[in-house]
């Protein structure tokens, strides 16, 4: 009974997620005539699609997370330099960009007429660089996920207490020893979770893969799901493919789960990387700033190009359009609703996960619950959306529940980000102060307010900001539910593009990005300080 009282919130969330995921797939499947599983799985086309999907996702994840490790370490070693905070803030941008905006930004740098090719021809290189193909997919996925991985990894480095650094310098540890003995134990417990989120994002990537992949050979399962749902109206096939995607991702998740390591509880509270013994050499400094510099150029050039074309657009006309503000307001409402719902789901789950770890030492069970929460990325939002739509249709709530449903789908989609950034510090706080709390008789809200909150407020602010900004930039789901002609900002952007208003759209894109950054920044100011 005592166990039940500690895990009920988690059970509620897990059951809710399973019902939503299972229910939307089942409902979608039931709406059309069944297709045979065996005939679908032996289709050579589908097999090549599956192979391609997995291949590009593994490659993209390896590159993104691999580079993130290098850059994050450099960033962690250089705890203070001018522009560091701004750089980290700007790193939140790629993740929240509408895909089409990112595509335009990336091709402005790496495309046929991009900066890179201009530089090459300036240097007298005859051969021009072609981005379309696997290169394009990898570049784009690195652009999206490298900053995300950095943002998720950085807190792991920053959680290493200064006592450890001091001890290490007394022992005269080399940089490599520091990594092996201090840094790796601290980051390795987060790494599988981060890899999983990045992998799922790349696995389910769609428009980027199609457009920058150069042709239909670059097709992910998500493309096939879209095709089945939208153009062939074979809902059953769509549901089947969604299920297939979910199973493949589950296999990947279980593989990573196996790799999952026990949290290394570190003691000591003061955190300051300036006590590291290995940051004073010139070579170290040079390599760190080289890594940070390259990464900055790679991320900021496309962003700069997006801003550049936005600034040259008809700013006044776009900004003075009242529909832009109405759409922004609607997007903001969706973002706030989605964040609140997602936060409730995340806390419900994380609370139980910590309880499992503290009271029952159920490490694997705890990680399994977190994994289920992360798997939501593997379900195409269009399938969840279709499921919700069918529910609303049958319960005659379509006209009233639109906003809630868009928010709910978004909340489910951003849940993994919240889980992956809040759970490590929350669990660590538990491990560190569990005994103290028991001594002092702190529990419940009091424990949360006095012990947990100060530790998790920064990552929570990051997660809420990111989740909100992501829902703000959402497009697919909002368009699916339209019942009254009210539009969100990303939908408005697509309207402009559809009406040849490419210059106007580039202004709207910048406006959207600025709003996302402001939202992100405001949340961090309010909560994260």
């Amino acid at each position: 009974m005592r166990i039940l009282s500690g895990v009920w919130s988690g059970i509620v969330v897990v059951v809710f997620l399973l019902i939503v995921i299972g229910g939307s797939i089942t409902l979608t499947a039931m709406t059309s005539t069944p297709v045979s599983l065996s005939s679908a799985l032996t289709d050579p086309y589908l097999i090549s699609v599956i192979r391609f999907t997995i291949g590009q996702a593994v490659l993209s994840t390896t590159i993104s997370v691999g580079l993130a490790l290098i850059v994050t370490r450099a960033l962690a070693r250089r705890a203070k330099f001018p522009g560091r905070r701004l750089l980290i803030l700007l790193m939140g941008l790629p993740v929240v960009m509408p895909v089409i905006v990112a595509i335009f930004g990336i091709t402005a740098v790496f495309g046929k007429r991009g900066l890179l090719n201009e530089l090459l021809s300036l240097l007298g290189v005859e051969q021009s660089f072609t981005v379309y193909g696997l290169t394009g997919i990898l570049v784009a996925h690195t652009f999206f996920n490298l900053p995300l991985a950095i943002r998720l990894l950085l807190p792991a480095w920053e959680s290493i207490p200064r006592e450890n650094w001091r001890l290490a310098s007394m022992l005269g540890m080399s940089s490599r020893q520091l990594f092996r003995l201090l840094e790796w134990p601290s980051i390795s417990d987060r790494l599988p979770g981060i890899c999983l989120v990045v992998f799922l994002l790349c696995f389910t990537s769609f428009a980027v893969v199609l457009t920058l992949g150069g042709g239909p050979a670059a097709t992910t399962i998500e493309v096939a799901i879209y095709q089945a749902l939208r153009y062939d109206f074979e809902l059953n096939q769509a549901a089947l493919l969604a299920l297939l995607q979910l199973s493949l991702c589950t296999v990947a998740a279980l593989g990573l789960l196996k790799w999952f390591r026990v949290f290394a509880a570190t003691s000591g509270r003061k955190v300051d990387a300036r006590d590291r013994p290995d940051i004073h050499s010139t070579i170290g400094k040079a390599t760190d700033f080289f890594c940070i510099g390259i990464c900055t150029i790679f991320l900021l050039l496309p962003i700069t190009m997006i801003f550049y074309s936005g600034i040259r657009g008809p700013i006044y006309e776009v900004i003075s359009d009242p529909i832009l503000w109405l759409a922004s307001a609607r997007s903001l409402i969706i973002a706030i609703l989605a964040t609140v719902i997602s936060m409730l789901l995340a806390m419900g789950l994380i609370k139980s996960v910590r309880f499992l770890r503290e009271k029952t030492k159920q490490q694997k069970g705890a990680e399994l619950a977190l994994t289920i929460g992360s798997m939501t990325v593997a379900i195409p939002p269009m399938v969840i959306g279709t499921g919700f739509f069918l529910i609303a249709l049958r319960t005659h709530t379509l006209a009233h529940a639109t906003l809630i449903m868009i928010a709910l789908v978004n909340a489910i989609m951003v849940l993994p980000y919240l889980l992956r950034s809040i759970s490590p510090p929350y669990i660590q706080a538990g491990e560190q102060y569990y005994k103290l709390c028991r001594h002092l008789g702190l529990s419940g809200l009091q424990r949360f307010r006095l012990i947990d909150w100060p530790i998790i407020r920064k990552p929570t602010a990051f997660a809420i900001g990111l989740g909100g900004a992501l829902s703000f930039g959402d497009m697919g789901v909002a368009a699916l539910f339209d019942t009254d002609g009210q539009i969100t900002l990303p939908v408005m952007l697509y309207h402009q593009l559809g009406a040849y208003q490419f210059n106007e759209a580039s202004v709207t894109a910048v406006f959207l990005l600025l709003l996302c950054v402001s939202f992100f920044w405001a949340i961090n100011q309010i909560i994260g300080r």
């Binding site: 086309y45 457009t211 050979a217 009406a499």
Partner: protein, 336 residues
Amino acid sequence: MKTPKLLTALIYGVCLSATGSAHAETPTLTVFTYSSFTSEWGPGPLIKKAYETRCQCNLKFVGLEDGAALLSRLKLEGNRTSADVILGLDTSLIAEAQATELLAPHDVNIADINLAVTWSNSYFLPYDFGYFGFVYDGEEIQTPPKSLRDLMLNPDSPPVIIQDPRTSTPGLGLILWARKVFGEDDIGAWETFASKIVTVTKGWSEAYGLFLKGEAPMVLSYTTSPAYHRHIENSERYRVAMFDDGHYQQVEVIARLASSKNPTLAQNFLEFMLSNDVQKILPTTNWMLPAVKTGQALPEAFKESEIPKVVLGFTPEEVSANRKNWIKRWLGAVAK
């Protein structure tokens, strides 16, 4: 003297709710359409204004992503749909929409319909049409290909960006176009053409945006695209390559739903779509050609030379029967 006050309030309240319900009796006509039709730059807002002044009704547009989203929404909602009218399906989706048996015959006199082909469908009414075409950058290409055959087979033809037939209407249009021109040999043509394809995008916006940014000198779009640049931007830079072997025609249609609670209103709206008032605004808002002779010339930006001489098209039944198979064959030829 509290009672009279309360009474006044009550009476006032009753009156208010009475006028409220009187308001509610103003019928609302719900039209499902694609989003660029109803966006502030499309014809939607103008049509709404014009129609509401004459019908004593509310006209409500629901804008979905594209024609395919429209059809799938219709199928999802079935006879529970709140739509009275569905506007914006094209010829390649007609057969499947008709198969849902959710539609009612239009009963409109179609004598005035002026497409390049004769129209006989009794459920769908064409309101505008266009042709797929390859738009090129005049600063990059001086001598554009003269025919689809030339474009797809000539090793010197320019690189192009096209759309995916699995996710976009023009993409599917090109499959049908090539099939019409090459017949059974389309696969060979696609295999040759594949090396010229810079990339295949999810939708028209990605493709056209990349084209405008110089990623390729040519893009699959509509023959009316140059008219936009001329009319709005006063630019002659973007042109369309007119092909001797023809252009594939896309006809956009409207239909009313059998489940509609406002059949007369829906019927009137169908007729209104063919009226001069609507037809004359379609070219410069929807960038398509009017389906009815308006009696007045097209805006100056639309050039006679950009109207195809040879018009190609499959019947909706042919498209519906072969679409999947042809896309599959296309994948086999292009995805390597």
